[in-house]
């Protein structure tokens, strides 16, 4: 009889669709790339734009990841997160200028060493500032969103102003290290070397973060804490320490993102953090507050869309991200990968 075989495929298809649902956000990235391919007439421009979109997305992800985890873990919304981006950029660029010899030498190894030193210095400083920021600004207002938003916004202003006091009010132009300037030509498309580096660093960081979150005990504690912090404490873990650790790591990552962003723009200003905060917010919201994977996908989408639209219709570029946010919130009101809170 054909009854059973008739029945079985429907069941399987239903199961498949259900199983695919969590992956739908991941599929959005190739869909976006494909849409870009269809909309952009020349393949070479499309390739250039795709790489720069991915590079931009990776950098936004690096800057945004800390913010989403901090929120997930302690329900703390940090409007001052952008300050770490600015600090990171200024510290990193200062180190690069100081290491001008290494950065200017026509040697990839020396250049990368200089970049590495800048990145490490930026991360150390922003990590330290993050630690202080958590202690002084954030800790007294745990559990009170309204005050959190106000106070962290105040913190952002103060830090920005202090940057101006230390480094002066002028924007600083910076050249990328010698061997990271210019681009390669691939299939007729010009691809900047620095963007390839940014994509590489972003990918490595994302994989490393995933490894830590999935394969280490501290990662388990963080993920469990995002879901149900109270139970994590009832199992004997000091969530507060974990949170401070995540806050510091997130600040350091924002600092790293700041250096990379500054080198990408070849220009840094004290309020650059406030500007990228807009993109960070959009990414964090559409990804699902608290989700690192969602943040990653959201960052890539924002990066790609912004680059495609900037090419097709420059004036709409900034609005396009708002449009993307609206579209995604209509589809999933809690963001692409909503984090289920147990409370």
């Amino acid at each position: 009889m054909s009854l059973a075989p008739d029945h079985a495929p429907t069941m399987a298809r239903k199961g498949l669709a259900e199983r695919l649902a969590p992956w739908a956000p991941v599929l959005l990235v190739p869909v976006m790339v494909l849409l870009g391919y269809l909309a952009i007439p020349a393949t070479s421009s499309w390739l250039t734009l795709t790489v720069s979109g991915l590079a931009m997305g990776m950098m936004i992800f690096i800057m945004a990841s800390g913010m989403t985890l901090v929120f997930g873990l302690m329900d703390v919304i940090n409007f001052g997160h952008g300050a770490f981006v600015s600090i990171g950029a200024f510290v990193g660029v200062s180190v690069l200028i100081w290491l001008g010899g290494m950065a200017g030498a026509p040697s990839l190894v020396l250049n990368l060493l200089a970049m590495g030193a800048a990145a490490i210095a930026a991360m150390v400083v922003t990590g330290g500032v993050g630690w202080a920021f958590e202690k002084v600004i954030v800790k007294p207002v745990y559990g009170a969103h309204l005050k959190q938003i106000l106070v962290t916004m105040g913190g952002l202003i103060v830090i920005e102003q202090l940057i101006v006091v230390i480094w002066g009010p002028e924007e600083i132009f910076i050249r990328r290290p010698e061997t990271l300037q210019g681009g390669l030509t691939f299939a007729g498309a010009a691809i900047e070397k620095y963007r390839l580096l940014a994509v590489g660093v972003g990918l490595v960081l994302f994989l490393a973060m995933r490894f830590v979150l999935r394969r280490t005990k501290i990662g388990l504690i963080v993920r469990a804490g995002v879901e149900n912090g109270e139970m994590v404490e009832a199992l004997g873990y000091r969530l507060r320490l974990v949170f401070v650790g995540v806050f510091i790591a997130g600040s350091a990552l924002a600092g790293l993102g700041g250096v990379m962003w500054g080198m990408y723009q070849e220009l840094i200003t004290a309020h650059m953090g406030q500007e990228v905060m807009i993109l960070i917010f959009i990414v964090v919201i559409i990804g699902g507050l608290g989700s690192v994977e969602g943040c990653f996908i959201g960052a890539l989408l924002v990066g790609l869309l912004q680059n495609y639209i900037a090419f097709l219709e420059p004036k709409v570029a900034l609005i396009s991200n708002i449009g993307l946010m609206v579209a995604i919130l209509m589809w999933r009101p809690m963001g692409m990968i909503p984090v289920v809170k147990a409370k």
């Binding site: 469990a224 109270e230 009832a234 147990a342």
Partner: protein
Amino acid sequence: MSDPILRLEGVQTDIAQYHILQGVDLDVPRGKVTMLLGRNGVGKTTTLRTIMGHWRAKAGRITFDGADITARPTPAIARSGIGFVPENMGIFGDLTVEENMVLAAVSGRIDPARRDWIFEAFPPLRTFWKGPAGTLSGGQKQMLSIARAMIEERKLYLIDEPTKGLAPAIVTTMARALRELKEAGASILLVEQNFAVARALGDLVAVMDDGRVIWTGEMAELAGDAGLQERLMGLSMEGGH
């Protein structure tokens, strides 16, 4: 008998502007199962949560294993040897069953013998060991929640309504596992609405009403006196739900 493993003296707890606990006095002896009974909303869950430090007692004293834990932070209370099964089970749905268990083992290592014992008590946990805990059924989640508390030997187990809303077959599994735990000599403070389960497991009983413990005694005494049950809890032998 030796000193109790846990003692509450005049414990008062407020939640927002409500006085939930109004002076709880309770002794939980070592190596016995103490049932905490009472109608809904009399403060049983709040009592367990106050012991764990999730709510802070505003007055009174909580002594665990000879040490005052009233003001200790929750992680310290847990590490001093309490396994807690909360009312909402507190499963980490994003983590696998195995990862849930790894987190529960403070030492970071799961003792294979103990794991096998748990597998025997709760077979579904073996089947779904590598699967995400979020996809388990309600009964399986409850098994995981209790298994998490049992993964290491604790000085005291606090278990909040382990049979709530479960199918009868799973209630039986649950009761059998708790009996095994009891027979291994564990000290347990158990909140239970199902009187049949309570009667089968309990050595001692504390009945709460209106934020206080109003009666303590042997389970046998309460089980044998329908009038007393009626008076204390408004439930009869067939009671529970």
